[in-house]
Structures are given as C-alpha cells and as structure tokens.
Symmetry: C2
Subunit: 358 residues, 2 copies
DNA sequence: CATTAGCACTCTCTTCTTGAGAGTGCTAAA
DNA sequence: TTTAGCACTCTCAAGAAGAGAGTGCTAATG
C-alpha cells in the first residue's frame, strides 16, 4: 500500500525505540499477552522509568508499529511492527550448533529410504519450529525420460509405470482397443525405452509418428504424463505439526483463525497457490517471511509463513517452510528454515546431479 | 465389560421403547441438543402424551440406553444407545440411487489417473458423509517382483526403483563401495530382471548367492524392500474432510475432543494401529462400526468410526471409512461406506487381477 | 391397569451489576 | 528530556436474579 510506504520511513526509529519494539515483540511472543510499560521495565531491568517507556510506546503506536487492543491495555505489535522487527532487528544468524547437530543426525538415520525424506523433513521442521511445517518434494522443471514399464492387468487395461531420470515415478491406466499379451507389451516398452532414453518432452514430441497403434497410444500417454509433471509448480506436498499451531492461544480462542488454519492444511490447491505465488521467483536458500497474508490470503490474516526454496536452481527445486501465528519466534524459526533448506539442497544435489550426466 | 452384558439384554425393549430410542437418536443427531419429551411428541406427531414418553424415557435411562446431562435436561443417547440403534434399528439399506450415481460419476472422471484414485476416494467419502474420511491404498499381502531400475546419480550413490506386479513402486538409495558406470548398472538390472520376474520374496531369497558383489548388494536391497512392503499392514493412508468434523459442535466446544481428532489425523501410527486392530480380520465389504473408542482409544472417546475393508481377500486389500462425532447419521454413513468399499473393490479387481496371470 | 393431566421442583443459561486490577495519558516538577 | 503522581478507562471475574426447559410424582381417567 502506498499509505504505508509514505507514512512509515524505514529508519525513523531511534535506538531506544528499536529496543522497546524488540522487547515488546519478544515479550508478546512469549506470553501472548499485551505488554505494559511497567512489566517491560521490571522484566528487562530497563534503566528508565515507566513513563519514558510509555512515551516511546505512544510514539511507536503513532508510527504504526504497535497498537492497543483497547484504550487501557498494554501494547501489541502490528503487522508493520513484526515486519520491522524481522527486517531491521533480527539479524541473520545461524542456527546454534546443538540444534544443527540434532537435525543432521535425525536426517542421517533415514538416508537410504528416499520415500521417507519428505515426511521426515516435515516432521523435523515441525518439531524444531514448534509450528506447522510445509514441505514440497523436489520437482524437476524439465523431465528426462528414463524407462517405461507396461503391466498387463485385466483384459484391455494396461498399467503404465513411467520413471524419469531424477527418479520421479508416475502411474497411469491405459485402456486399449483390444486385449494385448504381456509379451507384446514388454516388447513395445523395450522399443520405446531404447528410443526415448534421456530425451525431454520436446524431443519425444518431435518424433515422426509411426503407424503402429499400440506404441503410438503409449507414447501419447507418456507425453501427457511428462507434460503434466512439468506443468505442475511443485511436487507432492507434505505437512506436519498442525497440532502445534492449533494449540497456540490465537487458534484456541478464535474459531475463525482455527478454521483458516485447518482449511489451509486441507485444501492443497490453496497451498499450491500460496507457495507458487510467494516462492516462484525466489532464490534458493533465501528465507522469505510472509506476515499476515499481506492482504492476499484471508486464511492467513493472523498468521505468518516462513518459506525458503531448496534444490538446484533451474533444475530441481522444492519449497519448505513453516506456518504459525503472527506471534512467532522469528529469531529461531528463520534460521531453522534456512538450515533445513540448505540440508535438503545438499541431499538433492547428491542424489539428482546424475540427471545431467547421462 | 461384564456388567454391561449382564445388565442389558439384547431384546429387552418393547416396540414403543425402540421407537422412542430411535427418535431420540434421530433428533439428537440432527440438533445436537438434549431431547425432551414434549419436543419429541410435537415434532413427530406421536399419539401419546408427554407423560407416557417421559415414563418410557425413564425406563430407557434405567436400562442404560439414554442419559441426562443433568437432572432437568432432556435425554441424550449413551454409547449403548447408539450401539443398540446401529445393530437393532438401522436395518442394512442401500444407498439411494442418486447418491450412487453421483459417486460413480465422480469416480469415472479419474479412471485413468491411478495416482488420483485414493485422494479422490477420500475426498468423495468425506463429502458424502460430511465427516472425515480415511482411505488406505490397496496393499498386497505377497509381493511379486516385476522390474528393477538402477539410476546412477552422483559418484557412489545409486537410486533404485523397484516395481512390483500390482503396480506398487518403491525407491531406495544404494551406496556402493566404488563408483559404477550407468552401463554396468543397467546390465546388472537386466540380469536381475530376467531372473526375478514374477518371483515372490521367498523364491528370490532362496537363490544361491553369487559372488558378484554389485548384484548381491542390489538383491539384498530388493529383498529388504519387498519384505518391508509385506510387513506393513496397509498401504499409504489418505485423509480428507477434517474440517467437516471440526465444525461439528462437539469439537467446536470441547478442546479435548478437538485435540483428539487432530492428533488422530496427524499421527499416522495411531491410525495404523486403529485400522490394524479393528479391520485386520474383517471380511471385505462388511461395515464395522466402532462407537466411542470402546475403551481402547482415548482419542475416540466422543467419536465413532465406520470402517470397511475392500479389495480381493487374501490378495490385495485396503481399508476405508469415516470418522466423526458419536452423534453421527449412521443410517446414511453406513451405506455410503459400504458402497465406496464395493466400488473400490471393483476397481482393484479390474486393475490388479493380472497379478496371478503371469 | 396403562395412560394422562397437573404441578412443584430443579438445573442451566443469559443478563446485569459491581469491584478489582492493569494500564494509560496528562501535568507539573526535577 | 526525564520522571513522579494521579485521575481516568476499560476488561475481566464473580455474584445475583429471572426466564425457560424439562423432569418426576401424584392423582384422576377410560
């Protein structure tokens, strides 16, 4: 909004105001209660009187960084307040050693089991951030054909399993005009595999179409599948830790907030949209903080989302992050998300780099 | 409990008592409010006075089928009351034609896309039962090897994709002692595929172990994967419609109930346990109703679960069902679950029957 | 003898009142 | 510029009172 920009200049706060803003944010994050001048002075041994703090708070309120739930209550950070806190006060810091070790260790346990990586990442992220986590599987921007397998089932139904060079797998049912024996299916698959291996969608689409009906049908389906995969913005979405969020007071009290959170978690298309619109052009490894839905998402009105992309830029990437109340311990959450993104990027590089080697 | 058995005889209710119990259940299911004698007479045009109804209600309360939240409130069905209702009053009925058509139609849309079957089943089930749905992917009790694919990635890491004859797919990372070229990997996979195709875990395990190190490693991993698949009780779990349940008054008001429901939905191992213990020896197509956790599941204290197994008995089976408040429209939910189970059974037969044909 | 009208009684739920507590803003002094 | 002092505001919890819904019991009825 323009009003916002013009009314609030980035560095219009004195050192002392920044301190007080930071302390209000910190105290509110911990207690979920509006914080008053007296509490602040007492709790943090401030070397000024409550009246001084009151004056500064009045100034911060005037500037739009704090607000009062009602006339005679303490102060609560506004969206702007959190935003200022995140950009100007929380300096990029690394996750402390012990936490890094724990996470690395937890991850190392499941190194072999590819299928466990994503749910595990989601679980660890949820556990360490004490919020809800969102992790998408790494997704290739270009698919390279590796192998197709045709499995005869009943009569004219054929199950097709398509494997890409990154290890992505997709399945489809193909209904033929007439029953075909497994041998013929295998032969067809073999021929296709020889011709298509390592090829991209465009390369396969450019093949001269042969007259052989069975192979043509399969090829069409293969292309459709590969295209479908490339069209999608992200891989499968893994979620965890919804309970963490729902037990925060914001969500216990407000039925609206709760509905929003649960809805966000159930409606994958909503999540897809959120991830696509916020991290689409984001740089890998850079943490983005979305506070209060930014007017675009009604469900996120009282929430914040901390996101980062991971993977190999331009090749395979995924998104991961955390969703919680606006009153979130950003100082801990942001480094956690960054660390997890780096960790998964490493994992993806190790596994997927072969894609370009064939 | 023994007390329960001895105090309540199955058919100790008069026709009129059964009617009143049924009406209390029905009215309470609709309104979520304790039902009083006057309401009942008025609402259902009963040809008796409120005093008579009061007497019968007193009798039903004495027998343990109804209870009063407090002295001067209306009646609410007890667990026993619901149980009696489900077993003696709701007679097995089919889902009405229009609902069947709608469901079949919705399903037909996604016939080709195997990967959409399970989430779609969960979504439809949630939508039609207006509760939360639980669907597990069909799971083979015996795995038959179909094909393995080895994909060279970085250095010593190899991605293995294993396909079974029902179309099940699993992936693992294999770390070799030294780097191996893609050609050698493909050759090894080819040899393995020729030898193992169609074999079960036991048959493969019985092979004389060759000295060739690479193949041996792969074979070990293949076996481990197949075993792992057979050990699991069910396939992946798909959930939907948690919002439906959470917007029921029971869950809006009681934080405990809400926590229980969300916890059940997040903790897959809990669900696994629930499904395993209730439907393990169940007959395919028979609907089971679990009311109030039966003392075994704290999380289900105020909830009911309606479950059925589907698939081909002894070969591939899965479980599907619905989870909601104890105050559930069983007369609609039970036929819906049964119909969905039959539908999926059909689908599985069509697709998977090939398993025995090789 | 089962059924029913009549009635006193019980318990919850909502609304209103009241007082304590926390916090503010303003003014005037240091 | 900072701070002590103070009147004022607003919420929240606890208690009081009345309405409403429903019950159980008793005595009358076909």
């Amino acid at each position: 909004m323009q009003i916002r920009r013009s009314r609030i200049k980035m560095n219009d706060l004195t050192e002392r105001q920044r301190l007080i803003l930071a302390l209000v944010v910190r105290h509110y994050t911990e207690t979920a209660q509006p914080v008053g001048s007296a509490r602040l002075v007492e709790r943090y041994y401030l070397e000024m009187s409550t009246a001084t703090v009151r004056n500064e708070m009045a100034a911060l309120t005037e500037s739009g960084y704090l607000r009062q739930p009602h006339t005679s209550a303490g102060r609560v950070p506004t969206e702007e307040g959190y935003r200022y806190f995140v950009t100007h006060v929380v300096y990029p810091s690394d996750l402390p050693e012990p936490a890094r070790d724990t996470i690395s260790h937890q991850f190392h346990q499941a190194r072999q089991d590819v299928e466990q990586w994503m749910p595990l990442a989601a679980s660890i992220l949820a556990q360490h951030s004490r919020a809800a986590s969102i992790v998408t599987a790494p997704h290739s921007e270009r698919s390279h054909y590796k192998h197709v397998e045709l499995i005869s089932t009943q009569g004219r139904q054929v199950l097709m399993v398509l494997v890409m060079t990154g290890g992505e797998v997709s399945q489809q049912i193909l209904t033929l005009a007439e029953p075909v024996l497994q041998e013929r299916l295998s032969a067809a698959a073999d021929r296709l595999n020889q011709v298509c291996i390592g090829k991209t969608t465009e390369e396969i689409a450019a093949f001269p179409v042969r007259a052989v009906s069975l192979e043509k049908d399969i090829l069409t389906l293969v292309l459709q599948d590969m295209n479908h995969g490339e069209q999608r913005i992200s891989g499968e979405i893994y979620l965890d830790g919804l309970t963490n969020v729902l037990s925060e007071p914001e969500f216990l009290e407000s039925g609206d907030a709760r509905r929003g959170a649960v809805h966000l978690f159930e409606e994958r298309s909503l999540l897809q949209d959120l991830l696509a619109r916020t991290t689409n052009n984001a740089t890998v490894g850079v943490v983005q903080v979305l506070i209060g839905g930014e007017g675009k998402w009604e469900e996120l009105k009282e929430c914040s989302v901390v996101l980062a992309r991971y993977g190999i830029p331009g090749l395979v990437t995924g998104t991961l992050g955390v969703f919680g109340p606006m009153r979130m311990p950003y100082a801990r959450t942001i480094p956690t998300v960054r660390f997890m993104a780096d960790l998964l990027s490493g994992l993806v590089s190790e596994t997927m780099i072969g894609e370009e080697n064939d």
